[in-house]
Amino acid sequence: MNRIFFYILLLGMFGFSAQEVQAKDSKHVNFAAFQKLDPKFEFDPIVLGKFSDFIAAMDGAQVLILSHTADSVHGDVINIQQDVLRQSAEGLGDVGINCQLSFLAEGMGSSTVYELGGLCRILDVGNGKTSKLLAVIPMAGLPDTTQGVDAWVLLYEDTVSGIAFYANVSTTH
């Protein structure tokens, strides 16, 4: 009986410390979507620099979404939804972006690798438009600003709509 109690106690302590490690290892996932305005503008695969440099580098595109998901841990499913439902004569229109993203953090400490991937639906329905684009974003490694890499990585670009998704991870100090 004593042995069972000891194992339960041990498991409880392990569970607590695992939670503590997970909380410590949480990261803020930053996600941004842009749409090209200037046909000559090209999205860079990696944009180096601080946030202000990143926004400045997008001078030929408009911001569609800027999202900051605080304290994300391995296995989180991040839902990002920013669309407008609008009543019109032909029914309910829907314009915007809907994303379901899977966030993975594998490894330990400074050697942790962060990945993000998933689905985004780019909707432009209503006022005679019926565009529903599905963007499948394969898992991609994310730069960690706290590991000394101030960068945003291009996750996906749709050449038809001119929409691109960028992401990175950060930590609050």
Binding site: G75, V77, N79, L85, Q87, L92, D94, N98, Q100, S102, L104, G117, G118, L119, R121, L134, V136, P138, M139
Partner: protein, 101 residues
């Protein structure tokens, strides 16, 4: 997904046939107009919820594309499960909106 559709249809039918508490007070003028506006707002809200619900249900098949794109099945299943929870929540919202009409 057919089961989910059946479930929401049954839930909606139940919500519409279930007894609704009513007040004894007589409503004229402003109260009637107010009730009519509430009803229209309720219908609009319900339409929005149902639209989102339909889209969410239709999007379940999109997760197959993720597996084809090389994502780990375990990760895709977790995303499916998250979406199913979201759909369940929206169904509850829809039932609440129907009962509030």
């Amino acid at each position: 997904m057919k089961k989910s559709l059946l479930a929401i249809t049954l839930a909606a039918a139940f919500a519409l046939t279930a007894p609704v508490t009513s007040t004894e007070s007589v409503s004229f003028g402003y109260q009637q107009a107010h009730a009519a506006t509430d009803s229209i707002d309720g219908m609009k809200r319900l339409n929005l919820i149902l639209k989102k619900l339909r889209d969410a249900m239709g999007s379940m098949k999109d997760f197959d594309e993720l597996e084809k794109a090389g994502l780990n099945k375990k990760d895709v299943d977790r995303m499916r499960s998250a979406m199913e929870d979201k759909i369940r929540q929206m169904m509850e919202d829809a039932i609440y909106a129907i009962r509030s009409l």
